[in-house]
Symmetry: C2
Subunit: 302 residues, 2 copies
């Protein structure tokens, strides 16, 4: 089961890090941007940048999270770059989370599920449009918008992460609202996620239906870890957004399992920081991953 | 302001209909599917089908809603078909709603806003990736995920529709939950939408920040129409999903303004219904639009 594979890769590498390939063209070094003036050129440069990063981190991180928004903005060329990035990362043995936060009614959610986790049928032929290991989803539309993903998860050993408590400040506007029963919206969403995951719990006690829980909200994360014992967390918000290793350690259980921490700009743009300025962008990214691993290990594994 | 333009087109055509171009390859007539066996072929056939529909309805409907999920599942080729469909519909004078339900934290929402409503910058050049008039968005992440869209709306005369009360049965799981103050989640979301729209109210009293309110929930829609007097509704759920013209008339104000009703399969696949079986698919779609217009007019305008 994919969640078991992810847990095993994390333990083998002693590194619960997902490198976020949220690659805006502006993040690239000057020499990679020079002379590029159209969407196709930007997309090609982004692929080259991503491949260099993947080559330098594939032996020390288990996973990448590819944020599709950063590719969509370069149009059809950008989505080709997205597909190439996902394919390359998988070839190099990385687990790929597509961060797309897709959501819709059942018939349309089925299309999204086919796109990222399943198969598209044309006549007698079947295709994998943007084949990923995990997909992030938004469950504002409830169970019948989630079920199509669960179906393809079972068929093709895939997983999802459902938004529960997001890392951004205004996530609280809806998510921290209290319901009549005294529970918050994020706790209620957490209870739905636990239920959706019941049939896909792996050998380590965690389900392939995960949750997004921000590193920036340690009090809420601690509540959710307790209330969602079978749910693996995808934890954004470390670094650039302000979450620290000490903030997010509450997302992990007593054996140090239970989550994976994403960092995007902190790794992709490490070469712009004074600490890494003497390194090439890809070497800087690798060193930033090593430093992040040490920071997380200290906090989580003690 | 785009919401005024939409209202004026609706009144001029006396037709509050958005044709939903949720075009799965399987919806195409046999002869358009014959011999097609790959994603590129499927995408090309979908474009040909959509263009034929657009040609037949552009003089009687103000608007199309293009559901991006149905294109994403054909991969990069599918997104090229999406871009061509949007461009062609705009060329033919139709207002285009992209139904993508995008959502993320501020920096990433900015990417989505650039993609569908704004501009992507590469060096000194600017591009419109998938330029639409309106975009549907999901506000589970609160204000800072919405603000980037509001910024581009102002700059480029665009609009959004925020999910409030969706048409699917399980939308109720979260959306109908009662908060401590006695209001439901969908009413609370509605109050946020009214606030987000404050600075973009047009000459008819409706804002360019609209709401998605399903035709399948007349009781809730009536509450929302009262509590959201400045919010224009995008109303899915008519026809195939079970919503009737009499169900959705509560979404409209006393002057017959306030919403636009989407129908997708009911129009695209009209040629498969007995009533239209003697017509070609595009003529069947036109006739289904005429019949839908009469049905809506009777209920809304009396």
């Amino acid at each position: 089961m994919i969640v078991d594979t992810l847990i095993e890769k994390i333990e083998q590498m002693k590194n619960p890090t997902a490198v976020g390939l949220d690659t805006a063209f502006d993040y690239l070094p000057d020499d990679m941007r020079a002379g590029v003036g159209d969407l196709r050129g930007a997309a090609d440069a982004i692929v080259a940048f991503n491949k260099a990063i993947v080559d330098k981190v594939a032996d020390i991180v288990p996973c990448v999270k590819v944020q599709i928004a950063y590719y969509e903005m370069y149009g059809v060329d950008g989505l080709r770059a997205f597909a190439e990035t996902v394919r390359y990362a998988k070839e190099k043995g990385l687990i790929v989370i597509t961060d797309a936060k897709r959501n819709d009614i059942g018939a349309t959610a089925e299309c999204y599920a086919k796109t990222f986790l399943g198969e598209t049928t044309v006549g007698e032929a079947k295709f994998n449009a943007f084949d990923s290991d995990f997909l992030t989803v938004n469950a504002y539309l409830g169970s019948d918008g989630i079920k199509p993903f669960l179906g393809w998860m079972q068929k093709r050993d895939k997983g999802i992460f459902v938004l529960v408590k997001t890392s951004n400040p205004s996530g609280a506007e809806l998510q921290d609202q209290k319901l009549e029963n005294g529970k918050t919206v994020y706790e209620y969403m957490g209870s739905l996620v636990e239920k959706w995951g019941e049939d896909s719990v792996g050998k380590y006690g965690y389900s392939a239906v995960g949750a997004v829980v921000g590193a920036t909200h340690p009090v809420q994360a601690e509540i959710l870890r307790r209330e969602m014992p079978h749910t693996f967390f995808l934890i954004p918000g470390y670094g650039a957004q302000g979450g620290t290793a000490d903030d997010l350690k509450v997302c992990f259980d007593a054996s140090g399992r239970g989550g994976i921490v994403n960092s995007s700009r902190g790794i992709l743009c490490a070469y712009r920081k004074e600490a890494y300025a003497r390194l090439r962008f890809d070497d800087a990214a690798r060193q930033a991953c090593i430093d992040m691993k040490e920071d997380l290990s200290r906090a989580i594994f003690g």
